[in-house]
Symmetry: C3
Subunit: 670 residues, 3 copies
């Protein structure tokens, strides 16, 4: 966590403005019953804080903060700027966003402002400043929380103007824009800055001009950061020692979080898995969050203590499920477990969202009791592993620019999805309990033995050198189909795919075939080693590879390109570069990753039965904390590799250790 004085944080969002002060008092009792030590507020109370342009009212906030302090509970103090007052939208309608269909939105919902609106920015910064001044010395103040789940794409005239400025700043001349966006295609050639039009449904019918749309994605990230920084700067100037966060929505595609994270003191995110998500998907997102600031612990800012309300079918969380998800978060680097929400609203869009304190209003519910148990456990053991870190030997490269561009692409297949591909490769490591860091294409890779860069469609400047250096220094690199295609502007690198990675992989991809969803091909393994089987299924896309310096390890089993290589390895300096030219089945990835990890001696913390996740965090002083998470719906015995201290029971354990269904444990090295 941000500094050593922090305990594991446990709590969540609370809306005192929806409740009477009598209920506040009752809630203090309930919070303490549940060992809650952090309350986030007020996330959505701008109007109550500023009922009109020149009037601010903080009395009620004073009272609730004082009450928290009196009860020994910290506040994650929100700036309340995620939803501007109705009076403000009415008086300054230009602050409302214009949507991708060209429609000016009207007041409502939330996060419903143009991120480039000068009026919004001015009022948001002013409110943040007033809060900081007023509460800078308040004993409850632990963390600042700016706005909420940023991510609005706006297409208004303000944004269009700002976008033109952004383009001019980046490319300097119209000629350079024409070149970087290849605008002679379809006569999109510009002769003046004013001719730049934002990409929307009004000009492109879902077949957007990718080079422009990609830069619009970048521009929106930059605009959002700039909007956020208006509040950040004013708060930081007043309370330089209080860390600042903002929570990332689960829909993480909208904004480049690697870029955003540079401006955030502590990363925070909201974890709302769908009932059908595999545990590995949740784990991947946690690892991505940990990766945003290069391994620093982060906050799980929101999860639901039971059902959600905005999914099509909102299943209950079963007994133990919230606890399991909470320990999984900490197992991947979270130092906070927080809920949306502490008490359930009686009206509004989310009234049927789970809450620690349900509509029944008391502690005698299954959900409250489970939350209280987690709180009790964390108050006992959390401070011991807080701020501990990972020591991963494997990494996966992740890149928002690549995500955006490969999914903006028109062709070769609409089913090429970046996150899905990352997830497939991640799962192969996850199933082996191999710890993986999620890194940027330009991250320092020297600490890793294995780096995987699936679907690395875009190779930005320097990335080829970074990968070359990693491999030539002895690392093992794995990449996959449709990689090395374009530069940072989504312009194809000519001369033969995979472009700037061609020498590294030692191959030329002459062309590719996109398969229909019902079509399959197969990979016939020619160099099996001891991990690979004879044949695997594959589909989606088939790169037709000419190995140059690489060695072919497998060929396609069907179609006119039967016998053409689909899997290669290239010795490059001291390392190896694998290229998987198609989308293999899970069995291949499992076997292949197992083989590569074995070759490189990359091992899990402990061997566990299927369904039991294990991770390890290390304190700076060398103490090691092993997290065991049982995803099985039955109790499972783990054969411990040595003796440990079971932190929850405070006893030394050895031999077989039994985890109940959906159980979790934290073991400390002796």
């Amino acid at each position: 966590m941000m500094n050593k004085k922090f305990p594991i944080l446990y709590g969540g969002d609370y809306n005192p403005d929806q409740w009477s002060e009598e209920i506040w008092k009752e809630d203090m009792r309930l919070f303490k019953l549940a060992h809650i030590n952090l309350v986030t507020l007020p996330v959505f109370s701008w109007t109550m804080l500023q009922p009109s342009e020149d009037l601010y009212e903080f009395g009620w906030l004073d009272r609730i903060l004082d009450l928290l302090a009196k009860n020994g509970i910290y506040a994650c103090l929100a700036t309340s700027t995620a939803a501007q007052p109705a009076w403000m939208s009415k008086k300054y309608p230009d602050m409302l966003p214009v949507d991708v269909d060209g429609r000016r939105r009207v007041h409502g919902k939330r996060v419903n402002f143009c991120p480039n609106s000068p009026v919004y920015r001015k009022f948001a910064a002013r409110l943040a400043g007033k809060l900081a001044e007023r509460y800078k010395n308040h004993p409850a103040l632990l963390i600042w929380h700016i706005a909420n789940e940023y991510g609005t794409y706006c297409y208004c005239d303000t944004c269009a103007k700002a976008f033109r400025n952004w383009v001019e700043e980046h490319y300097k001349t119209i000629e350079e824009v024409n070149r970087r966006w290849n605008l002679s295609f379809w006569n999109h050639t510009l002769t003046d800055w004013e001719e730049i039009v934002v990409p929307s449904e009004l000009n492109d019918d879902n077949k957007w001009y990718q080079e422009i749309a990609l830069d619009y994605d970048r521009f929106i990230t930059d605009s959002t950061i700039s909007c956020y920084m208006e509040e950040y700067r004013v708060i930081k100037a007043i309370t330089p020692d209080i860390p600042i966060t903002t929570n990332i929505s689960g829909l993480i595609k909208h904004l480049d979080q690697f870029k955003f994270a540079k401006y955030i003191d502590i990363v925070g995110w909201d974890n709302y898995p769908s009932p059908t998500d595999d545990p590995s998907t949740v784990a991947l997102k946690h690892d991505l969050m940990r990766g945003l600031k290069a391994g620093a612990p982060y906050l799980l800012v929101e999860q639901t203590p039971s059902q959600q309300n905005w999914q099509p079918y909102n299943k209950l969380k079963k007994p133990g499920e919230v606890r399991k998800l909470s320990y999984q978060a900490m197992a991947h680097g979270a130092d906070a477990v927080m809920y949306f929400q502490l008490r359930g609203s009686i009206g509004g869009v989310e009234k049927f969202h789970g809450a620690v304190i349900s509509h029944a209003g008391h502690e005698n519910t299954r959900v409250f009791q489970e939350c209280a148990r987690i709180g009790a456990e964390l108050s006992k053991i959390g401070s011991r592993f807080v701020d501990s870190r990972f020591r991963s030997k494997a990494a996966i490269i992740f890149d928002w620019d690549n995500w955006w561009s490969v999914e903006l692409s028109s062709g070769p297949s609409k089913d090429i999805k970046y996150f899905e591909q990352i997830n497939k490769y991640y799962k192969a490591f996850y199933d082996l309990n191999i710890s993986v860091d999620i890194v940027r294409p330009d991250s320092d890779l020297s600490q890793y033995k294995i780096v995987t860069a699936p679907l690395l469609y875009m190779v930005k400047p320097g990335v080829d050198q970074n990968l070359n250096a990693f491999v030539s220094g002895g690392g093992t690199l794995i990449s996959s189909f449709f990689s090395g295609i374009v530069d940072e502007n989504d312009l194809v690198t000519t001369g033969g795919y995979p472009g700037k990675l061609r020498e590294l992989f030692g191959i030329w991809v002459e062309e590719w075939d996109a398969l229909l969803p019902e079509e399959k091909n197969s990979m016939v393994i020619s160099e099996k080693g001891k991990y690979l089987a004879d044949r695997y299924d594959c589909g989606l896309l088939c790169d037709l590879i000419h190995p140059e310096t690489a060695k072919s390890l497998a060929c396609y089993g069907a179609d006119f390109y039967q016998g053409t290589s689909c899997l290669t390895v290239n010795q490059y300096g001291k390392g190896l570069a694998y290229y998987i030219g198609t989308d293999p089945d899970k069995a291949f990835l499992s076997d292949f990753v197992k083989g590569v990890c074995t070759e490189k001696c990359v091992t899990p913390p402990m061997i566990t039965p299927g369904g039991v996740e294990v991770t390890r965090r290390y304190a700076q002083d060398g103490r090691a904390f092993t997290f065991l998470i049982n995803h099985n719906m039955e109790k499972t015995d783990v054969c411990l590799d040595k003796d440990y201290r079971d932190m929850l029971t405070d006893s030394v354990i050895s031999g077989y250790f039994t985890l109940p269904q959906m159980g979790a444990a934290v073991l400390e090295n002796l």
Copy 2:
């Protein structure tokens, strides 16, 4: 029917302005061949009646009305206001509605006006007045028909202003609005009336702020009634003795018809079942129409004599099918059987809609002959059972506010559909031929032995007392999952579900699980009695019930809540309150309803074989008319419980009586 002089009405919509006067004459011959006694006109002829702002022309209408009178045919005189003239839309474009996407509509279609438009209202009332003045003493005039299938949701500035006034009238202060809509959620707090924004796609992306959207539904009903009343008042003042109707579209959700029906002299509706609708669905809608004015007979204003044109696949009605549907209508309380349309248009959107007189233009068609047969039968027997009523001992509570709010809800499951739930319970009674009245939550329930209130999510003020009184007086109440949740503003009643119904049902519902569509659970019956089997399937939603004073009759068979109660009964005063905490399969409902009806001695008019519907209407003088409808596609023998007079053959029948496939009969008690 409205008064005793009325015969059974038989006829339909006719558009004289689409045909030459020669064809009018031929049509009179054909109408009489078919025993048609009522013609609705002119529904869509405003421009021909008022070709410009200051010019009215009634000559052609005089001629057709005179022709009808001369031929002994009544007119259902339409005010022709459902589609304003093109010149009017052009001159007063503000009368065109703004749609939910914020787009001002352009002239076209029909029912394409803002219900709050002062200009539309002024012109509509003026035309209605002129028609009333001109035809008040016309011998053909039998009924007034205002406009057509109201139901436009408009989002224009006029409506926004009217909505703000509506809100102010209802809640008086801004503070009260903030409270009633729980607007502190997501900082929707208002500081001024002018800040109220109508809920539309422009602010809410399908996740509407339910409390506001619910009141907008109510407001649109009120606006539409107010629009309709502009015509009603002027007509009533001129022809106080002529009853006034307007036809309800099959899409009955849009407007609260219970509320609307108060302002209508005779209820009328348009019955367009889809080819896959079960007969019970049609029956339910008929019973709902009968319920709108507490059992008064109503008009079947439109049905098609054969195929429709606006369904995806427009199947023919088979021989006997229209006759069967016509008798089913009367079996449920209709005193009129009318068609859209008497002669088929040659152009326009509905030219392939069925008509009594098809494009062939003569009587020698299968469809005409069937219509003529029905007409002949009705002219023979209809006047005998006209104005007869039902004596139901069972009722189902139906409520538009509940419909709107439960389907506006975000969570727990998108598949919770009110009408579908009502239909499932209704079908259990229907299959037993138990007559059911559809009543309001605040209706007087004293005449009933069994009242069913499925999915009674919203409990409006007084409803809990009404139900308590019914049960404590000895009645049996049946309700189901997700009931008792909110008040009249869609705000959750805290303290434990089912809120204000908790004492009545003697249970506490701690939480609920929403099942995925492919998931099932089961109800394991612990108290079988003689009607229930050991186990039934259930799904959709599972309330987890703690019986308090209630007795558990069944528990869930699976998941972590296996063994938790899912069906309870509570003795409350002299009666019983059953709570079905999940969505059971049809077999359960069938068995359960059979058991309850037997216990309460609620019986059908006669026992019939499967597929043979039977209902009974009673004249004020005590005569009883038993309707038999054979929905089977083969002839079916009914064993009569006693001797009857078969009204169509005018003969006394006894023992086995054979209904042909899709046959219908009306039997009079001897």
Copy 3:
């Protein structure tokens, strides 16, 4: 081809403005390697030709045209008007179209202008004139290519005004418009021209007023032709001897191409089959293109040499597949085989579209080699069969007005699709290798023995006489369900279906049943002859036919209309008129068409094994060229009916001739 000096044309689209002049030179080398003799350019370079309103720059175009001429390659000189400059859209925003949702589009995409915009038309014509003046004597100039894939439907005020004028020109009086559009329906009655509103999503919710929408389709065709003619006239005045084309998009429904083709010197089209298209679908479209100018050869202006990029899944073309598609084009009358594109763009929406010169940039690719092989073959044999024609004895009637109106229809079934029906009947002939001409309803039919007019819903003035004359003169006519229903304004012909065709077919269709997708009926054959089986499946729509003078050949096998006729033949004069009253399965159509062709002695050029297509073109001097196309994925032996000269090997062949998989050959009569 247009005149005898033309060779077979081989080449495609080239975008010199996307490449350096060094690459131009390299491309000349590659073009010649591939035997390319025609390059289309510059299709999208308006801004480079006219960087501002008063500045034109042709220097770069001079240089590339000179380079082409120097290398002996012709230019298909494009006017570059399909995408206006950004500066022009910005300065004259009214030239941007308003879409069917009423939204003014913004600059972007392509073909993104209002076809009625006076500004667009002025600038387009001015540019075309400048190009014509400058290059009228350029040695490279062979053909003009105006704009690109016209087809924009615009709904702006300019169009609305033009539409009102169009209506007034066609119908002269408001009364006539009211009559022709049957506007009394739903009170759409007009009193003034200004009241006419264009049909869009703003007034009709997908249930458009068909009569108006049909005329809007016609109006857009007329507007587009008029827009095109602005360029045509100015070019023709300057270079009267150079033929002018414009390419028809594969989405051919938008514009009435029969009407458009009158204004084009040579028809050209873009062939982009989906991977799942049957070869007969491609063949049908080719025959339609040949039919546009009554049998004149046409240009295949675009096809991809390998994958596309804008389909959901963009499969590679397999080895031989592009060659097969190229020969299939010529087998149906094309005298040009051209590609989009010669060199693949590095950026923009279509960067992953196939190209002769791929991103690798050299000739050593599978795709380039196949293109070069085709080029070599065509340069050897193409000039010999250029401008040869067909001698078909069978025709299919095709009509855009019918297409539009039958698919605008509301009812009887949403699955009635005109092109699909045409395709089913076409395939029955195609599978027999019977050459079919696609003709207009008013074409001279005297050369044909068999004319098929499936789903001839609309019978325009004179069409009934044309068909009557054809049959009474001895021809055999085949039509199908839902025919003869409406006149040229989509108004029903009353008195009994099939209206004006009733006497010809000798039947009365009293009504029809629309079947659900999962429903089937059957045709029970009563008069089998030697070609028909006992029974076939049918579905979609079932006309209930009363034979009058016709003889019934089959009856329905199920439903209440079991035993009702579904297939009839009528002797009319010297000929026969068959009416197929339902949608039969493929087996029926295959057997039925085989029988009719045998009766009428309409035979294929040669009997071939399944999957081997054969067509024959005739030179004016009587030489005959037989095209053999093997669609099988294995080599197939064809037993030649006599000796031929194999043009590719220049050898005489006889007996069995082997075609490799996807192979093609051209045989000349000896």
